[in-house]
């Protein structure tokens, strides 16, 4: 068995950036300047940056709660407060942690609590839960909550959808001016959109490098290195970070370094990560010489439409064109393109119990794709954060059997 690849060196820089991000937010919240805006992960971050807010992403905090396995400890507290165990476990983990007065930021950065919001800004393009989640904090702190109620299940993104979202973005401005104390400036928005575009171009390139055989990175690496694209897009640091990561990955390719030593199988991951079991799943698949080379989830921070010449329209288009906003026909075509381009022979659908909008197996898509593309598909039952819904042994046997099946079919 060839050697494991060396650790990704850029990780050190990413950790510094993330520390700077959270410490900056903590300072802003304590000093009251700049004002703190909470934003959903695919919400209008560009507008918030352009209007001078420090932008905080609770979904990133939700993922941290999952990855540190604190989530399963704190979710019951939110359940007891009336938030069902069947709804988004980012929400229940985050609210549960808040009610218990704990956060993984304490151990990571010495930060006592999540930064108090001055305004909460959601976009329901991914789900309704984000609005309910933010509403909890809006009531708790008595701060304004504003947002965009998005279209969903779109085949084609049409001009009237875009016009509607643009109008909703513009409606946010008076509240944001009032809370933040800064006048809206179209040129600052253009610059932020430009930086987001630069970030997205590089992040796309990082993901596309995994099409190489062997792949220099896997989905499990991507879930870590996507953090700057999520929380720092619209800022120059994210652009610089991906230049660094790209250079390292291109060197890996030149040196023939494989993320999965002896790569034999190439897989696609559809759905949310299982944050508390990333290592277990990564090790298991790596031992089976199976590389997860592409995923819908990590692709969700590719925003091809950004264009500083039309900042509002391009933002609207970018946030409507996302996979999660689209209908099943679009989603199947999308997966087909990535599967074909990346030489994928098997698709793992993670059915996350508390995240129906990211669980695309539930309306027979695996069966349709298997028939159409001659792929092996597997549905893995679990959850993004709530490990009470995930069985290690079931997952191990399922994945092992899946790779065995691919071996048999390849023989």
């Amino acid at each position: 068995m060839p050697d494991a690849p060396p650790p990704i060196k850029a990780t050190k820089k990413m950790k510094e950036l993330m520390a700077g991000h959270f410490l900056g937010l903590d300072q802003a919240a304590r000093e009251g300047r700049p004002k703190v805006a909470w934003c959903t992960s695919v919400g209008p971050a560009e507008l918030l940056h352009a209007m001078g807010f420090a932008v905080y992403y609770p979904e990133n905090h939700g993922a941290l709660l999952g990855a540190t396995r604190m989530a399963t400890e704190v979710i019951p507290t939110a359940n007891a407060a009336g938030y069902s165990p069947d709804i988004c476990s980012y929400l229940t983990a985050d609210v549960g942690a808040f009610l218990k007065g704990v956060t993984p930021l304490t151990q990571a950065y010495g930060i006592a609590t999540v930064p108090k919001a001055d305004v909460l800004v959601f976009n329901t393009n991914q789900c309704r839960d984000v609005e309910d989640w933010f509403a909890f904090y809006a009531r708790h702190w008595n701060v304004p909550i504003v947002g965009v109620r998005s279209h969903r299940g779109l085949g084609e993104v049409k001009a009237h959808h875009v016009a509607d979202i643009v109008a909703q973005f513009k409606d946010l401005i008076p509240t944001l001016e009032q809370v933040g104390g800064n006048k809206f400036d179209i040129d600052r928005l253009r610059e932020t959109v430009r930086l987001s575009k630069e970030c997205t171009l590089r992040w796309r390139r990082v993901l596309e490098l995994a099409a190489r055989i062997p792949s220099p990175m896997t989905f499990f690496d991507h879930t870590i290195h996507m953090a700057p694209a999520v929380v720092l897009r619209g800022l120059p640091e994210a652009v610089e970070y991906y230049d660094l990561l790209l250079a390292e990955m291109e060197q890996r390719i030149a040196d023939g370094v494989a993320a999965v030593p002896g790569e034999r199988h190439r897989l696609y991951w559809e759905g949310m990560p299982v944050w508390g079991r990333l290592r277990m799943l990564s090790d298991l698949l790596s031992q089976a010489q199976a590389a997860v080379v592409a995923s819908t989830y990590c692709n969700s921070w590719i925003f091809d439409a950004f264009d500083e010449r039309e900042p509002f329209e391009s933002m609207a288009r970018a946030y409507l064109e996302l996979f999660i906003v689209r209908d099943d026909e679009y989603k199947e075509r999308y997966i087909q393109q990535w599967v074909e381009r990346f030489g994928v022979k098997g698709v793992i659908f993670h059915d996350a119990k508390t995240c129906p909008n990211n669980s695309n197996n539930r309306y027979a898509m695996p069966q349709r794709l298997a028939r159409k593309l001659g792929l092996s598909t597997l549905v893995l039952n679990g959850d993004l954060n709530d490990l009470r819904l995930f069985s290690d042994e079931q997952a191990k046997t399922n994945l092992e059997a899946f790779v065995e099946q691919m071996e048999e079919l390849a023989a």
């Binding site: 039952n381 995930f390 079931q394 046997t397 399922n398 059997a401 065995e404 023989a411």
Partner: protein
């Protein structure tokens, strides 16, 4: 003679099978797994070897499958029980198949093509409703020896309707039917129907149907009920509880064949 063995360490029972080079079963054993997987595996193999009249040094390969497959140092390699059941089913019935394995804690539906390659499989989700553990729990609640269930179900003139997914809630439903005066036999038949429903909602069925596993071995009437439900013949291999062990042994034999 060059022999091969398979050991299937399941959550409830550990099974071993010793095969000759032609894949014929020479000896088999079924023991309770208990808490020491390695010991259970070793004992089951000893028993199977004794039955085969063979010595350990005659074994060219031992493959393990099942829940405890990674905990058996004497095994040369491991395979999943999904691969093993598929291999055994195809060995006995070489055609396109859907294999239904009802185990102690999990159920599997495995699809095999006409060439014997696995093309799809499903395991039950986290819940163990519809598995052997479900029937064990119900037998306990009904104060009924497990081995009486099959004959009782067969005698039933009626069938109690049970609708819940959850094992515990099914027990509550059973109490309700008892209060309504349902005979014991009708309750047991209703429980068998519940197992069949849980299995059939996992996946579609195509090709010939083969049932394997301990529940099938001890409850042949459940196979008859499944055949009625599906409206087609349902096949079972000889000694269906040994199917995983036989399959693992077949895979062990194949691994020792010279490459073609």
């Amino acid at each position: 003679m060059k022999l091969a063995a398979g050991i299937d360490i399941g959550a409830a029972a550990t099974k071993a099978a010793v095969l000759d080079p032609m894949g014929r079963l020479l000896g088999g054993a079924v023991l309770r797994t208990g808490v020491d997987f390695a010991l259970a595996g070793a004992r089951a193999l000893d028993e199977a070897l004794a039955q085969a009249g063979a010595r350990p040094e005659e074994l060219t390969a031992v493959f393990a499958c099942g829940y405890g497959r990674k905990n058996l140092p004497l095994a040369n390699e491991t395979r999943t029980e999904i691969a093993a059941h598929a291999a055994a089913a195809y060995h006995f019935f070489p055609r396109a198949l859907t294999v239904i394995d009802i185990g102690g804690q999990d159920n599997k539906i495995i699809k095999v093509n006409a060439q014997g390659q696995r093309i799809d499989f499903k395991m039950n989700r986290k819940c163990a409703a519809g598995t052997g553990a479900f029937l064990e729990e119900m037998a306990l609640r009904l104060d009924l020896p497990l081995e009486r269930m099959d004959s009782l179900a067969r005698q039933a003139e009626d069938e109690a309707r049970l609708g819940a997914f959850c094992t515990v809630f099914t027990a509550t439903e059973v109490l309700g039917r008892i209060r309504e005066g349902a005979p014991l036999a009708a309750l047991v038949k209703g429980l068998f129907r519940s197992v069949i429903k849980r299995v059939l909602e996992m996946d579609s069925i195509q090709g010939a149907v083969v049932m394997t596993g301990g529940v099938v071995a001890h409850n042949p009437y459940l196979v008859e009920m499944m055949a009625q439900e599906l409206g087609r013949e349902v096949l079972t291999p000889p000694q269906p509880q040994l199917a995983g062990a036989i399959g693992a042994a077949l895979l062990a034999l194949r691994s020792r064949e010279p490459a073609r």
